[in-house]
Symmetry: C2
């Protein structure tokens, strides 16, 4: 089959890879209908994370081609969405809602879903079948549920967004935009999106943002405080993963407020004493997308949300490298790849 | 009046200080019946925190001598317990339960309660009157509610200790021991106390610990994992405030678990990427003791808990310096001072 391999920073190729097959009786093999490029794929692309001939991609929707002998719930022909971490969904950690840290967790990124086919471990735990074969226009939205929507949603849940709350979202990538969408769905009263990009501001407003802050760092903090009677936001979602964005998020929250952080925190060091006196709740990490999949699929299927709007570039799989470049240069918010 | 002043690290003197008086109409002046030396008082004593001729002490119980014109609920003659932060208890932050970060918060440590008398700002918000004049044997327990019990309690609440939970407590000072007591009162199923000191282990068991771990650092983490089926504790209270204890606490918690940290985090830097992948909830800071005071006073008054047992040395105020030395040298867990 054809699949994306990153040979080195900036060197993404689509080449022949071995066809996946059932390796464990709990596996499934899916034909990938759509995949995408993630903001986190840019870390190795930019050389911030080491990479050497790695298969790429961890977001996917597809049709089940084959299942192992112990797969009970997922069937050949199902149209499925799965999380970027495979999980058994039965262990104590999964049952507590932290499937991305399942005792059997396997990162789909190591398998590589920017490809024609993919093996999915723990198929019954990892995959959720949608109610039928989806109309074409729902496929981008279903694809977002695999990571970027699920991650933004987790950020908003971790930040305890809800009725009566003012929620600030730091980061206007697809995850940040979906955190805005999630905060709105969770009933937040006021949603402050931090963004300097006009097109993204527009989408944030479309997804339910009530205020836009264009300042970054401490100037952004001051603006959020100004909008919240000097106190800071009840809830802040951090969706970037840099030192500046983490500190902006923590400082934008009021004492006792909640910071949900979902940006992969590369090179971040949190000063203990400042964190202590901030009095915030801090929660985040790799989103347990599987926890939210049934609800997100339902919202998409009933067309109550339209998260697929974050895709502003669609390319055939063979042009994956152009997708990476477009996201790296911020010409695209999110790139969809069609095998 | 007589009061404790720290002139420099290791130099604590009891000397004549100005008698406190009502400065704002919301103030009260109390006659201090008992005060104590806090673990955090040792930071300046050891030169880790700058100090120069500072009045000392922020824990106190006493009898109200005088109230300002706008004080409504607290009356002259009341026996009162107050938090180590004065707070109005009416602002939005206070109503959310974060009185130590009240918009009008004033640290009692800047006033100094290791003294014969003390001015208490925001008397109606800060002080809680006990149901009558307490019997002498309840005074040490009531005094703990002012900080060390309230702080351990907050640590356990921040760690979401409760029924069905395994709670690990890192730190066997008075705060850690009270966190054990709190976890028990909150219904935790299993309580692992990390302690290498026999007398403190004994008190921890007495307060409800079910297991003792004597190892520190990563060896302590391994032991907690071993006791929890490899997963880590649901809840961990950090009650020390060093890099080692913070990392031990975070690593002892399972993914999705809760770390409540109440040790003042001096010089601590949290690695963002490790924190991200830990998937824990992190919450802490200066305890909003005022939130818990009514409940804690009630438990003490009905003799349901005996937190005063942490005091293993009692001295007249004039011998405060010996109290500091005894705690610094770990000859005493907690020192009570009688003006």
């Amino acid at each position: 089959m054809r699949g994306v391999v990153m040979h080195a920073p900036g060197d993404v190729r689509v080449e022949q890879r071995a066809d996946p097959r059932i390796e464990a009786p709990t596996d499934a093999v899916i034909r990938v209908v759509a995949a995408c490029v993630c903001g986190s794929d840019l870390w190795p692309w930019r050389g911030i994370q080491e990479v050497h001939e790695a298969p790429m991609g961890h977001e996917y929707v597809g049709v089940v081609e084959e299942v192992g002998a112990e797969v009970r719930d997922i069937r050949v022909g199902d149209f499925v969405v799965g999380s970027f971490f495979a999980s058994d969904n039965t262990c104590e950690i999964c049952r507590a809602g932290y499937q991305s840290r399942c005792v059997h967790a396997e990162p789909m990124g190591a398998i590589g879903t920017q490809a024609e086919y993919a093996r999915v471990p723990w198929a019954d735990g990892t995959l959720v079948a949608v109610p039928g074969q989806p109309p074409a226009d729902l496929i981008p939205s279903l694809l977002t549920a695999s990571d970027v929507l699920g991650t933004g949603w987790f950020g908003a849940v971790a930040a305890e967004a809800g009725p009566g709350k003012t929620v600030a979202v730091v980061g206007d990538g697809a995850v940040g935009l979906h955190a805005v969408l999630a905060a709105r769905q969770l009933g937040a009263e006021r949603i402050i999106a931090v963004s300097r990009h006009e097109a993204r501001q527009k989408l944030a407003l479309d997804y339910g943002a009530t205020d836009i802050v264009t300042e970054r760092g401490d100037a952004g903090v001051a603006k959020v405080r100004e909008l919240t009677g000097g106190l800071g936001a009840h809830s802040v979602v951090e969706a970037v993963g840099t030192q500046e964005s983490m500190m902006q998020a923590i400082r934008s929250a009021r004492p006792g407020g909640h910071v949900g952080y979902v940006g992969v925190a590369h090179g971040v060091e949190l000063p203990g004493l400042e964190l202590f006196f901030s009095g915030v709740h801090l929660h985040g990490g790799p989103a347990p997308v599987r926890r939210f999949l049934p609800e997100l699929i339902d919202l998409i299927w009933r067309r109550r949300i339209d998260p697929g709007k974050v895709f502003d570039l669609e390319l055939p799989l063979d042009q994956a490298a152009e997708g990476y470049r477009a996201m790296d240069e911020r010409r695209a918010t999110k790139v969809l790849l069609r095998p």
